[in-house]
Symmetry: C2
Amino acid sequence: MAPLSGFPELLPGQKMVEAQIVDGLRRTFELHGFAPIETRAVEPIERLTGGAEIDKEIYAVRRLADDEGSEPALGLHFDLTVPFARYVLENAGKVEFPFRRYQIQKVWRGERPQSGRYREFTQADIDIVAKDALAFHHDVEVARVMAEALAGLPVGPFHLQINNRKLLQGFLLGIGAPSPPAAMRAIDKLDKLPPEVVGDMLTAAGLTLAGADAFLQLATIESRDDGFITQVRDLGVTHELLDEGLAELVAVLGGCRNLNSDRITVEVALRIARGLDYYTGTVFETRLAGYEALGSICSGGRYDLLASDGRTTYPGVGISLGLSRLLVPLFADGTLTASRSVPSTVLVALTDDDSRDVSTSVAQALRDRGIATEVAPSADKYGKQIRFAQRRGIPYVWFPADGADAGHQVKDIRSGDQVPADADTWLPPAVDLSPEVVTIPKTAE
Amino acid sequence: MAPLSGFPELLPGQKMVEAQIVDGLRRTFELHGFAPIETRAVEPIERLTGGAEIDKEIYAVRRLADDEGSEPALGLHFDLTVPFARYVLENAGKVEFPFRRYQIQKVWRGERPQSGRYREFTQADIDIVAKDALAFHHDVEVARVMAEALAGLPVGPFHLQINNRKLLQGFLLGIGAPSPPAAMRAIDKLDKLPPEVVGDMLTAAGLTLAGADAFLQLATIESRDDGFITQVRDLGVTHELLDEGLAELVAVLGGCRNLNSDRITVEVALRIARGLDYYTGTVFETRLAGYEALGSICSGGRYDLLASDGRTTYPGVGISLGLSRLLVPLFADGTLTASRSVPSTVLVALTDDDSRDVSTSVAQALRDRGIATEVAPSADKYGKQIRFAQRRGIPYVWFPADGADAGHQVKDIRSGDQVPADADTWLPPAVDLSPEVVTIPKTAE
């Protein structure tokens, strides 16, 4: 039976690695006061398309038994931002603002499956949304929280790259660009297209040759400190929005400075524009070192109009980690794996079929003290029972007292060490209590 | 904006309660060696319908942009058993058998929304599947594991009710019933229909009047100990399959005996038949005391043919907890709630807008020691900042040293107690570290 293309599924060991990673993300988000929510998988299709023409990527959902058109047209959500905006409007009277939430769920897109692109995948989003006005310091906050979350992952290092759309827009206004959004959409293609082609797109968007050149030069600026300010100033463009963007960018970079480590660097990259017009200030992208071809695995920014019910507007700032996009390639190339395929730390052997109760009691005593344990399914020869544990990566096999020898014994089947043990007191090293996440560096090509 | 009928969504406090419950289930399942898996949301429609006529409950999924019929017809899974069976076949060469797995995911059914029935809901399943043959002791195992999981829930008590289809089928063969499956489907309606009506269905299924009467009498038998054996024998029916079913039922009941507590009772109820023909031995249902109208919130059993690829058959035994079906009504009637709507244990107040760095440092010091903390969004008067914490249920407000007074202070805003504190050493009582699950007994009607 062949898997369905674009719908990756994990083996149990991989799923345990993913679960440990998700638990770590939840922990970090909650330490910063972000509350979890989960939205339904479906939204009205007109909400997904924003009332505009049908988006090609949406999966429509319809009851097989539905008489044509008798129920509202639904679709699977393609991100977690659209459902979050709807949730905020629907529960505006029940949640407190500013509202910090995280949301870790699957999303669906009908894209052509290709490397790094899936039709079903998991995202982990954090957002802060307020009523009417959202203070700028929350931009610094979401950057810090996601940087801390990324730094805690067993893979990396990551480069969290920051920019500010006000800076870009101010620069474009300063050089007299007639349509800043079109120029920002063009510069956003720099990862995929050569600068000459992007330059042609910029002049097509109404920039002069000199203006396109200056904007392309701006986009090359990268920096881990405030040095980028001088580089920008040296381009000789002035505009009040450019100053505002520079100040915000300096503040986000400064707010993240003490997070820099061998796990993560937070840096300015003026190339980052995000194609979507709804970003209005800070924008984020993230690269995984060694996997630059994956593109940005964690992106977001400030949107001053996350939601509106006509009377009240809800500005927000957020960042979304593409969990499947990050993990599935690492599982596929063997970089990321688990030390075992089951949660069990111990396999309790069966002496004979009549003594299942003895083995079950040992297992329960171990579980009562937090040690994941299973009992051998049948009373095969001990060698076969040990191989049963080996195939699953279970590190310990417990041999119950059988009356003939001294008493209970436990064997570390990796080292072969076997010692007498009491099920009410024996403890394995803490590292053996859960499957370990094993990372194997990719070999140089 | 109105919610979508049949698609329940939780408020953040409720979601934190659900997450704590799910974490508890995961913990119990993993202590018993069950590994997690997660399957894609969609399956080919012909797999969902089992090749038979279209099931009315299925949600079909189609890319909006798909040219008619160019891609395989997909549907959202309506349970976790069908996708698990497919996963086993697809990964038969990669997983070890017997394979213990748990799976906690959403499922979708296009049912008419009504009390206790949803179109999107979460299930928590455990199953053990083997190749060719699955030893009977695994029936006892899944019953024990789920009973332990239920006993650990903050709601209850639960009645886990057990029966055995071999017992029913043997009894029916013993009284000469021409079509045991039809009679079992009829007896399964006893929860919803009066005995007279079920009696008519039994005679319509070919039972004699005396046979229908005997079978109805059998169905009234309930017992928490082996006393039911005599009651069955007293009905005077004999058949070898009846004996086999009795023996298995005694074994499952006995294997769960030491789990009985004020949280859960495990009992025999010969009324339980499960309508589905694929159950072949042990069957389970579960009632929540005080919420009997919800029906069974946790059901399952043994199916000797979970999956087959034509050469190999995969027998299984499992049980599925309807998590939404259990929790959503308890959230709705106020029985189950959280002590706060955010994870935060502490709100660090802001002395003035210029000292945000001071408050951020205090917050980070607390987080470094596992205390969920947020910083007040703006430097309002302290009274307003305290009300900000109160509205969210945050128990502590931290006042940073402002130079004018003695130093840092922390206030338990529930008691009003305020004490000097050091962010590198202060600890709240453990109970305040996470939102508490609060249960309020339903008032008698």
